[in-house]
């Protein structure tokens, strides 16, 4: 028997597409940016020589940042330093960490644009997207 064609809900397809492509873009950024980070170490936020040395000694995160750059500059440090290699990696990483939020936002719009409209699921998707946004904004944060 030929595989029967079952129509998938559009919000589900929209979510899948957004998440798939954004995570591939994030991976591509994290593939290319280390070249910049190691080719121009003087421009990096974290000096790679001291970073890996401290990592391999088993130092705690705050000590690693202290030894490699003089202190942790905050999670979104890439916003102020987009020309350095490790900041570009951090951008790619954070893009990937946000992609479910973006996908859910798109799915939420899709729930509202389909017929019949699905207000409940649009709100549920939006709530998770907002929670991801709040987590990214650092609604409650500690230092390691």
């Amino acid at each position: 028997m030929k595989k029967p064609e079952l129509e998938q809900p559009r919000p589900q397809l929209v979510y899948g597409e957004f998440v798939y492509w954004l995570s591939i873009i994030a991976a591509l950024i994290c593939t290319i940016a280390p070249i910049i980070a190691l080719a121009f170490p003087q421009g990096d936020i974290l000096d790679p020589h001291y970073l890996f040395s401290a990592l391999w000694k088993g130092e705690a995160p705050n000590i690693v940042w202290q030894q490699a750059t003089g202190g942790f500059p905050g999670g979104h440090f890439w916003l102020r330093n987009l020309s350095s290699g490790d900041a570009i990696i951090q951008f790619g990483l954070e893009l990937g960490c946000c992609c479910a939020g973006v996908g859910l936002l798109a799915a939420s719009i899709s729930y509202l644009s389909q017929k019949p409209r699905s207000y409940g699921w649009a709100i549920a998707a939006l709530v998770i997207a907002i929670l991801i946004g709040l987590a990214a904004a650092g609604i409650y944060q500690q230092t390691a």
Binding site: V19, S23, T31, F72
Partner: protein, 379 residues
């Protein structure tokens, strides 16, 4: 009509997903060639690591991540459950950094597989959204707890975490060996009002029985609560939680095993997008360290899903159990050493244990393992 110069097979590789897979693989190869060239003759500052060693480490991390992603896909679990214990047992890297990176590993493994799973129709977005409410919040709380504990417990905390994780990993290994008898098609006798109102089920085609499957869901409030607990453990230890989400969805919510397995990847990808942020904002994610792990998971996940999914076999299950048992030994001995309960384990003992585990795995694969507890070893 076919374009001139291209056969049908060639055209197949110029379409998604092969096209992006090829671009990403080529970028990785070119990137590591470039990194190797950059490291030649580079000066080393006093007290720092040589660039050549850094590139070797990064390449090693990528290869390991790629292998973990493929083993994980074949074994039907997430990559985090292999990565975190393995790194904690056999590298000197700080446990908070490993656990934070473990979440990235688990998350990207789930994210990259979400696209094909959503398209296939077996994955269920509504079920993923409702479960992520519990899993994500639990994971966020677990991550905050991990950072709080790490800031206060020092070396004894590192030792205790390794000991607990060693116990969890050993229990999981034994569960995969003996207790993983799951109900493929759970029977839902009574659907509660809340679950019925949400209209979550969606039909999917099951090729093994050549049928369109309609299923029901039950006990969603209890399911959300269970996901909160699972998220808490996952966020604290930085592991993926497919091993707990799948039985949770199957036994509590009552969805078919295939839907549970596929939707668990979507839940982990979505939920860990919430869980990972406390680690990022606390500085436990180190960009240059995480990058090769992230890329390895994405590429390995894509290759595993597209090329190797057909060769899933019992042998992979035994290899996975072997990895988990040996890792558990490493975690427990390292934890006890850090707690000063024993002196550092001699490398000869490590090698003997590894050889014993390898021998048992080999015997299990060829079907010669002696019967345990009167149970037959399945081939």
């Amino acid at each position: 009509m076919q374009s001139i110069g291209f056969t049908g097979k060639t055209q197949k590789y110029l379409r998604s997903p092969w096209l992006e897979l090829g671009i990403l693989a080529l970028s990785v190869v070119l990137s590591y060639i470039a990194l190797s060239l950059i490291s030649v003759g580079a000066t080393v500052p006093e007290g720092g690591m040589a660039l050549a060693n850094i590139v070797r480490l990064m390449l090693g991390f990528f290869v390991l991540s790629f292998a973990i992603a493929i083993i994980a896909v074949l074994a039907g679990i997430g990559g985090g459950v292999i990565y975190t214990p393995l790194m904690m047992a056999f590298t000197p890297v700080n446990s908070l950094i490993i656990r934070a990176t473990g979440l990235i590993v688990a998350m990207f493994n789930g994210l990259v597989s979400s696209g094909p799973f959503m398209k296939s129709g077996v994955g269920n977005l509504k079920l993923a959204i409702i479960c992520t409410l519990g899993y994500g919040l639990g994971g966020f709380a677990g991550a905050q707890g991990a950072i709080w504990v790490a800031g206060r417990m020092g070396l004894s905390g590192e030792g205790t975490i390794r000991l607990i994780l060693g116990g969890i990993v050993l229990a999981l290994g034994l569960y995969f060996l003996w207790g993983s008898k799951k109900t493929e098609w759970p029977e839902v006798k009574k659907v509660d009002r809340f679950s019925a109102k949400l209209k979550i089920p969606q039909a999917f085609y099951e090729p093994s029985i050549d049928k369109i499957i309609n299923y029901s869901v039950k006990n969603l409030p209890l399911g959300i609560l269970a996901m909160f607990g699972i998220g808490l453990i996952s966020g604290f230890f930085g592991m993926g939680a497919g091993w707990a989400v799948v039985p949770g969805l199957s036994m509590i919510v009552g969805v078919p095993l295939k839907v549970a397995a596929v939707t668990s990847h979507v839940i982990i990808g979505m939920g860990d997008c919430m869980t990972v942020w406390p680690y990022i904002l606390a500085g436990a994610i180190i960009p240059l360290f995480v990058a090769p792990w992230l890329v390895g998971q994405v590429l390995g996940g894509m290759v595993g899903a597209q090329v190797l999914i057909r060769v899933r076999s019992q042998a992979i299950r035994y290899i996975l159990i072997g990895i988990m048992c040996y890792t558990s030994f490493g975690l427990v001995t390292d934890g006890m050493t850090k707690l000063k309960l024993i002196t550092a384990v001699n490398s000869i003992i490590n090698i003997i244990v590894l050889v014993v585990v390898l021998a048992v795995v080999a015997l299990a694969i060829v079907g010669k393992l002696p019967k345990l507890g009167g149970k037959r070893q399945d081939k």
